[in-house]
């Protein structure tokens, strides 16, 4: 499956946006972890902005960054949202409330608890009526989201925004499902190259036992294994190097049992 990258969004600890993180990912500047800061998207109407929860803020921030680079009207772009979980804070609060006598859940909290809440807020903010899928596959959520987005590009010819995000749970869920830091990323993928194309991706599956791509920097490697969405880091690093003029690279992302998502990252686009 072939797809062209027109825009990249990124927000994580010490990775405040794609433009500011490219040199770090390419290994030209040292990685220094620092907490990622979330803000409510200015794209949202005031009522939704007030109600937006951390997953919505993270997903919208990285999605908007990728779309802006591509110079695309988000209303025309199909979306694939992928995350290992619904909004952690919201789920925690609902579970706490349900453990009380009153079980008095707030209606806003309830609608924010659905896994596709970021997709819903995104479509309201961008007035996008194009198809949207919200996926989940535990630690393989990014990899399977990438497969789905690439399938939409190659089978249906759609322009697709892949938006991936994962955040930590509060205690006690954090103990049983630890997630390291806030990490979100987005790729704007198109079926044909345009003037704004940054790189070309050829995506397939392998049954082989090729070694999974890792991050050379220990801090980034800890992030890669600690946050499901950060499994994207080797792909983002390859994109950073190729876009900076490096030679084509092949990235191996883990897809258990015994599989790999193989991504060939190439440039130029045509």
């Amino acid at each position: 499956m072939r797809a062209y990258v027109e825009g990249i969004g990124l927000l994580g600890p010490g990775l405040p946006g794609w433009a500011d993180s490219r040199a770090i990912l390419a290994g030209e500047r040292p990685y220094v972890a620092a907490p990622a800061v979330l803000t409510a998207s200015p794209l949202l109407p005031p009522a939704e902005r007030r109600r937006s929860v951390p997953t919505v803020k993270l997903a919208m921030a990285v999605g908007a960054e990728a779309l802006e680079q591509a110079g695309r009207d988000p209303a025309t772009v199909a979306t694939v949202f992928t995350s290992s979980s619904g909004d952690p804070d919201t789920l925690h609060q609902i579970l706490e409330t349900l453990a009380t006598e009153e079980r008095d859940i707030s209606p806003t909290r309830f609608h924010n608890s659905v896994h596709n809440a970021p997709a819903g807020y995104w479509s309201i903010a961008t007035r996008c009526r194009e198809p949207s899928t919200s996926l989940s596959a535990h630690d393989e959520s990014f990899q399977t989201g990438l497969l789905e987005a690439a399938a939409e590009v190659s089978a249906d010819g759609w322009t697709v925004g892949l938006i991936a995000y994962d955040l930590p749970y509060p205690e006690p869920l954090n103990k049983v499902r630890p997630i390291a830091g806030i990490f979100g990323t987005a790729l704007l993928l198109t079926p044909q190259p345009t003037d704004r194309c940054l790189a070309r991706l050829d995506i397939g599956l392998s049954r082989g036992g090729e070694p999974v791509s890792l991050m050379a920097d220990l801090g980034l490697e800890a992030l890669r294994t600690g946050n499901p969405t950060a499994r994207a880091l080797p792909l983002l690093a390859a994109l950073a190097r190729v876009i900076a003029g490096g030679t084509p690279e092949t990235v191996m992302l883990d897809l258990p049992p015994g599989g790999r998502v193989v991504v060939r990252v190439g440039a130029p686009c045509r």
């Binding site: 499956m1 939704e48 109600r51 209303a75 290992s84 979980s85 619904g86 789920l91 609902i94 579970l95 349900l98 453990a99 079980r103 008095d104 859940i105 209606p107 309830f110 609608h111 924010n112 608890s113 659905v114 896994h115 596709n116 997709a119 819903g120 807020y121 479509s123 309201i124 007035r127 996008c128 009526r129 194009e130 198809p131 949207s132 899928t133 919200s134 996926l135 989940s136 535990h138 393989e140 399977t144 989201g145 497969l147 789905e148 690439a150 399938a151 190659s154 089978a155 249906d156 205690e171 006690p172 869920l173 103990k175 049983v176 499902r177 599956l205 049954r207 897809l255 049992p257 599989g259």
Partner: protein, 389 residues
Amino acid sequence: MSIVSSLGAGQNATLDALRNGRGGLKPCSFETVTLDTHIGEVAGLEDILLPPELASYDCRNNRLAEMALHQDGFADAVAAARERYGADRIGVFLGTSTSGILSAELAFRARDPQTGALPAAFSFATTHSTGSLADFVRHRLGLEGPAFVVSSACATTSKVFANAARMIATGLCDAAVVGGADSLCLTTLYGFHSLELISPTPCRPFDAERSGVSLGEGAGFALLERAADKPPPGSINLLGAGESNDAHHMSTPHPEGLGARLAMERALASAGLRPTDIDYVNLHGTATSYGDAAEDQAITGLLGTRTPVSSTKGYTGHTLGAAGIVEAIISVLALRTGLIPGSPQTRNLDPALRCRYLLANENGRLDRVMTNSFGFGGSNSSLIFGWAA
């Protein structure tokens, strides 16, 4: 394909209930819930045992999936497909909205009073985690193709047909297991209650006095393969799938059913069909005041007022994340048997609604059926099934 709902386990139990107008809704006595409502609960889940090697997946949602996998010869059909294609060539694309959250609800009630810790027996990844369902089913069926859960609220097990069709079209898979399970839990019962959307009486879609949803649970699976050049007699094809977003509100549909209509238009376009080609529509029809009115506008605007339509949620309740697959299978059963289901509790049609809504069962030859599923976040999906040969 296989089906489980409060109507019973398997296609025959489902058809028998539809033929006899026997609904599955009963006064709610689920767990410790004290809400005044009716629910469609699946009987016998407490007796379901997962195989010992998959015991960590044990939760209400995976038990419901286990029950459905073993109806209607489904697991055997998948085993035969695995022989034909190879385990790594069959994908697993399933839907659920709340997965095994009931396990987390119970675990939060049993937190250590001193430390706040969850009980040691609670296994997040294999129960509460949204991806647990696809992981369980893949292990249970011995499949190794790509697997994920789609969780787009109540449209989700309809949308997985489109995901699977794409994966097969790209050549990543030769076949796919689609469907899913959504089981009763306190989150949805008290959540819908908080939105004032729960009906005290068994739900009455499209009735002038409709008063909200009755929640239910259900599961179902279908094996999707590339359409054959010479299909065996009786085969059913997925003719079209359409997806859209409302871009309107998180929990209220677009008042004119714009997103719903767009999903139906896209399904027709992908099937290369005209509105008059559809012989029956199984509606989303949850019996909320707004939802039914919006869908009526979408239906009459696109299909007119002649196509027979009905919601079967009066039978099964709203099975939320399972509604897509439960109603897709009911639609295919209608196609196969010519039984067009009516709507058990609906007595006086809302005069403001103009579509040809069936109160009682009808019989007749059907060539193509459509089924609608809409969800929170404004997520819409519409599927069209028809005879392959």
